[in-house]
Symmetry: C2
Subunit: 249 residues, 2 copies
DNA sequence: AGCAAAGAGTTTGACCCTATAACTTTGTTA
DNA sequence: TAACAAAGTTATAGGGTCAAACTCTTTGCT
């Protein structure tokens, strides 16, 4: 058998090793915390001796960035899969399911989510506007944008009058709109971004434990937020299906 | 002169050294990033040789925790000062000033705020419910709570009917209310917490660069958020005083 | 088939960081 | 003034990041 086009044997081995690196780094992160993820520790755990990892990453920061990007992809995949699962359902139900899937992943993968939000390698400067992490985060947020665009096209939702938006805000919205191909009017984008900010912001606060002084169980807080978001998009809120009753304490 | 009561000479020297440690750690954080803040580097920068710092902190995590708590205190002080400055003003104006002071500090002290939100030492386990950081964060959030309580007592604001809140949420609100001495009915606390979550959440997103894909200048976004908050508390929104025009690019 | 180049991995070593132990200096106090 | 405690020092063990020099294997080319 000839070498099957693009995937030489070397290539396949390399990919396998890369996957293993991801897996081991993640295991260390989850079981022993952020500071346990070191080039040496990962290599050791794989039975490799230290500097070998430099064949795969130019340094610690790059490793962290790549692993983090992997998390973004996984999360995006989870949400995307939820979207497909509910493809035939009404838009509201699908959107709610996606939001809940987002939170579900986040709270069952706290360590990973924490890294995504504030990775120990603060990215190659904020300058890295084209960084892998930026890219991945964008990709993942686009899934939700796509849904909102569909809702907009189907029935629309209330948006502020453009002249009610601060000029500087309008300018930014115009720029963003242009950058992503003008799928919606800027005012509608503004509603989307507000909603996204609230959803994602709440999630970050939960996972980063910034509200633990008040809440121990965020589920109802999150649902409250979802109810608000439904209001913003003129959708009917539906409580989560009682499919999975919570275990008694 | 006899030793002046509680502050012996030794004590004063120690305090001075501690302040210097804070200052140096902060300088390293701001100028060279989180990873530059190491026990050794701090000591070196002070002209001290390494392990001397262990006379002040039992280890790296404790140092980070203390420095971070200092940031909380400073931020709380800034907001508190703003509150005093506007003590005679109408409640809405004072609250807006405090929120803007909060953001003002955050965006002019990105590195510090980032540490507060996600310090490299993820706290002595989440178990540390009585940790210094938890305490400091709480203290700082209470300043805002105090204002809202005053607004509640003065004229009140719309709150959800208790029976409209999820039972689990009500229970948490009751517990929180009890913990802080029942200054307001739980439903009013809920409004406060929602507002706090939105304000603080937005700020975190800004400082952590999570929305840079859409916004470059958050000022109007933040003002929009303030407008919403005013709505929640039945206050009249007022744009920021044009006292400080922004410099032209 | 044979051979050079490239890839994967190893060891070595310089340098930095944490943290402990043992020791010195210096201020406080009975 | 002698004893004590606090503050600071050096020495050292152990781990981490990387670069450099060196094998060994796979691959591509002739």
């Amino acid at each position: 058998m000839s070498t099957p086009s693009a995937t030489s044997r070397r290539e396949r081995l390399r990919r396998t090793t890369l996957r293993q690196i991801h897996a081991v780094a993640r295991k260390l992160l989850v079981t022993q915390g952020s500071s346990a993820v070191t080039i040496n520790a990962v290599a050791r755990e794989m039975g490799m001796s230290g500097p070998a990892l430099y064949r795969y990453y130019s340094g610690y920061d790059e490793l962290v960035a790549d692993v983090t990007a992997g998390f973004y992809r996984e999360l995006a995949g989870t949400v995307e899969e939820t979207r497909r699962t509910w493809a035939a359902a009404p838009a509201a139900r699908r959107l709610l399911a996606m939001c809940r899937a987002l939170r579900g992943w986040a709270i069952t993968h706290c360590a990973e989510f924490g890294w995504m939000f504030a990775s120990p390698a603060p990215s190659p400067a904020d300058s890295g506007f084209e960084s892998s992490r930026y890219e991945a985060g964008n990709e993942f947020e686009k899934i939700f944008l796509g849904e909102i665009v569909k809702i907009w096209e189907a029935g629309g939702f209330p948006v502020p009058r453009p002249e009610d938006l601060a000029p500087s805000l309008r300018a930014q919205l115009d720029a963003y709109s242009a950058r992503i191909g003008e799928p919606m009017p800027p005012a509608a984008l503004h509603v989307f971004l507000s909603a996204w900010t609230r959803l994602y912001g709440l999630l970050c606060m939960e996972v980063m434990n910034q509200l633990s002084f008040a809440y121990t169980d965020f589920e109802p807080v999150f649902e409250e937020c979802l109810r608000d978001l439904c209001g913003m998009f003129a959708l009917a809120y539906e409580p989560p299906s009682a499919a999975q009753p919570r275990p008694a304490p």
